[in-house]
Symmetry: C2
DNA sequence: GAAGATACGGAGGCAGCCTCCGCTTAACAA
DNA sequence: TTGTTAAGCGGAGGCTGCCTCCGTATCTTC
């Protein structure tokens, strides 16, 4: 909307450079020392003053956002691609598995997201919206095909996913999470009326809101 | 083992009193301000010096442990009771639901546990051991009865449970978690061979390690 | 080259962590 | 009771990290 107002000064070269340096330093420092690492350490590593860091990224979360936005986008794009897979349930499973790998690589991200969630920050809002949308279409497709229960929202799924990944620094977390996700996806499949027990009325028949067709 | 060594001085009355005061204050402060709340605030509220607080609880985790140990024990006892229920799967489901309620009440606990997990503290070790054991018997019973897949460890389950609850300060978390747990338990049931699709080889037939009979 | 906008850096105020040690007080013996 | 002494108390103080503010330096534009 203000893309081409009258005269726009070219951004200062040093500013651009510094921003980049800070980002790089932040990525390194956060990955090494967790998301609570000292911002002064980041500044020092970037070779800039603490004031400069704060000017570019007024809050810690702003810094997280800049560092991890791209990574969230990658995850989201992956879902986008899987949209075209044949078996939608399998696509979902594949996305979740990839997500786990992803988390395993970028250890910093989950912790940052967890922090972001608690503080209700931008990053959280952005990430959840982006990912929800991406996964939402997977879910919708699966539900529309009748291959999966339809009363589970993308947000639900994300919460569960990230929650499980949150334990990502315990010994066997990765295989554990994979196992749990498997169980979860199994539970997600629409089940034939195998159990004539009590839970009959528990699940509403209507597909809850945003069905595709 | 050193219950009656030669001469043991009776513990000082003021020390006992102060310990109690600090615990009470801590519970209040943590529940209100989260587990990162200032320890000096706790001391002030307890009406003791900061030094006293640190003498009784050298680390923040020690304080958490003392505050939340009892609560963990309650959860664990609940599982103990459910052991006698008829339907083991249902018992598990009930335990999980109670767990959610529990978390809803004692908001402090999950956050504290989450912190504890990351720092690999006592509290974490203790809690996980205690709860694992309690749930383990539920799982075993269910698996032995053939009502549930047997390749899921109590630790897995706990991780998943706490993970899901970790988002416990977002708007609709409670119903979301309940929904997810339902899905999860569904996935946990051993499924009849309803789907002759691809996933045939995915799950090994052998019940993985500790089967009951 | 000059002017003016923009960005830099770090001093400094504040808060919380944790330690240390001189003083107080409770428990026990006589 | 009173004296002795171990146990406990409290808060000053050193340290680290957060964040703001503003005098100074540097870049862009003309």
């Amino acid at each position: 909307m203000d893309d081409h107002t009258d005269q726009i000064r070219k951004p200062r070269a040093d500013a651009v450079r510094n921003r980049e340096r800070v980002l790089e330093a932040a990525k390194a420092v956060f990955n090494a020392g967790g998301p609570e690492a000292s911002l002064e350490a980041v500044a020092k590593r970037a070779g800039v003053g603490i004031g400069t860091l704060y000017r570019h990224f007024p809050t810690r979360e702003d810094l997280f956002e800049a560092v991890y936005r791209r990574e969230v986008e990658q995850l989201s794009e992956l879902a986008e691609q899987l949209k075209n897979a044949k078996d939608p349930v399998d696509a979902l499973r594949r996305w979740l598995r990839s997500g786990v790998e992803f988390v395993a690589t970028k250890k910093g991200m989950v912790a940052a997201l967890a922090l972001a969630v608690q503080s209700g920050s931008e990053l959280h809002a952005f990430s959840f919206e982006r990912l929800s949308k991406a996964i939402g279409s997977l879910l919708d497709r699966a539900a529309a095909a009748g291959a999966m229960r339809a009363d589970v929202s993308p947000e639900d799924l994300l919460r569960a996913f990230f929650g499980m990944c949150y334990m990502h620094d315990q010994p066997g977390w990765q295989s554990s999470v994979l196992r749990m996700l498997d169980v979860f996806v199994d539970g997600l499949r629409v089940q034939p009326v195998v159990k004539a027990k009590a839970r009959v009325a528990a699940r509403p028949a209507k597909p809850a809101a945003k069905r595709k067709r």
